[in-house]
């Protein structure tokens, strides 16, 4: 699918066809996309565990739920639990099994080199002791990691490109630890709940956002980035900007889909 349309198709999808399994190959594509995401010092901060609704008992599914993801756990066919590996930096530095900045790999492949001030000796004598190693003694530190979120986002877009519905929602960390046996050094990012959509492709329209100018600035935080309507028109044509929520039929659609899936709903008023 064209990139901008892929981005524009994103919705916080809530309705999945529970009887339609997601092909394993599509799950792999999502993981492959996440693996290729940008990451600091070429280190694998992002990790993920794939689980399938139908491979879990009802009790196990209950343990995974948070208020935001309760129904998603019961209706999505596949769950990708994304994590931040808080130990990734230490492993990269101490074990040097894989190609990271610590191993000198980026100098070897010409990604970083003498023109930018880098050399193998610089990595060993400056970058490692003064940039990468400080703080390691404190052990794994919670507080999130942008690169883990970055990988997850790239995976999310891959899911949309594969024609799947996807929703990001928190999962119960302790429950996931018990069910999935995750290590103590992994901190949750988000759960990605996947399936084939039960509602229309528009899924109610693009979700509201704060005013554009309140989010983006130019040169100084006090100067909003002026939004050119010609650009938004072009991006409408490209599928990035789509009809905003709610579409006229949304209420009927939600009621019908809820009825189909056996979910709570309000019947139409006569």
């Amino acid at each position: 699918m064209d990139f901008y349309r892929t981005v524009g198709n994103q919705r916080a999808e809530q309705y999945f066809l529970p009887w339609r399994p997601v092909e394993r190959q599509k799950v792999q594509v999502i993981l492959e996309a996440g693996r290729l995401a940008s990451r600091a010092v070429n280190t694998a901060f992002a990790k993920a565990i794939v689980a399938y609704r139908d491979s879990l008992t009802a009790a196990e599914r209950e343990k995974l739920k948070t208020p935001f993801s309760a129904v998603l756990v019961d209706t999505a066919s596949v769950y990708l639990f994304w994590y931040h590996d808080m130990d990734a930096r230490r492993v990269a530095i101490e074990e040097r099994k894989w190609p990271t900045v610590a191993s000198g790999a980026l100098v070897d492949i010409g990604a970083l080199g003498p023109p930018h001030g880098w050399s193998h000796r610089y990595v060993q004598n400056v970058v490692l002791p003064e940039v990468l190693m400080p703080g390691l003694d404190a052990g794994p530190q919670r507080g999130g990691n942008a690169d883990a979120g970055l990988a997850m986002a790239q995976g999310l877009l891959a899911a949309l490109d594969e024609g799947l519905a996807a929703c990001l929602a928190p999962f119960d960390e302790a429950g996931a630890k018990e069910v999935l046996r995750t290590p103590d050094t992994w901190e949750p990012v988000m759960g990605m709940f996947l399936g084939y959509p039960a509602d229309s492709a528009e899924a109610g329209g693009q979700e509201p956002r704060p005013p554009f100018e309140s989010m983006f600035f130019e040169q100084h935080a006090s100067e909003p980035f002026a939004r050119d309507e010609q650009v938004t028109k072009r991006l409408e044509g490209a599928g990035l900007i789509q009809r905003p929520a709610p579409v006229p039929w949304r209420e009927k659609e939600v009621r019908a889909v809820s009825r189909m899936l056996g979910l709570p709903h309000e019947e139409a008023q006569p």
Binding site: V107, H120, Y122
Partner: protein, 114 residues
């Protein structure tokens, strides 16, 4: 400073490290005699041997096993290289000195030419 000649520069441990590192990255053909001649002139300009310049910028860490960058010394050498470059009206000459320091683990960051 007397006594700094190409032969002396060539035999310095830091110079051997530099040339070896260049060869590993760029190939053997990237090293030539003119590099050593230029570096020798820079040493004379600085009044230091190659090893002395590297030692000025890198000091042993607390455990003694690793080296740590001396920020002030690094800045002083950046300025010295700029002066050498200006004195010779040659960015290429300055870059030889920078290359030597970079491959020895001391980041040098000249502004780009446009």
């Amino acid at each position: 400073m007397t006594g700094i000649d190409v032969a002396g520069v060539r035999s310095a441990e830091s110079v051997r490290r530099w040339l070896s590192s260049r060869q590993e990255l760029w190939g053997a053909r990237s090293n030539n005699e003119s590099l050593l001649e230029t570096l020798t002139r820079f040493c004379a300009f600085a009044g230091k041997t190659p090893d002395e310049m590297v030692d000025d910028c890198l000091k042993p860490g607390k455990a003694g096993e690793t080296l740590m960058l001396r920020t002030r010394a690094r800045r002083q050498y950046m300025e010295l290289v700029e002066q050498f470059e200006a004195a010779n009206a040659s960015r290429d000459d300055g870059n030889v000195a920078r290359s030597f320091l970079i491959h020895n683990g001391i980041a040098m960051n000249p502004g780009i030419l446009t």
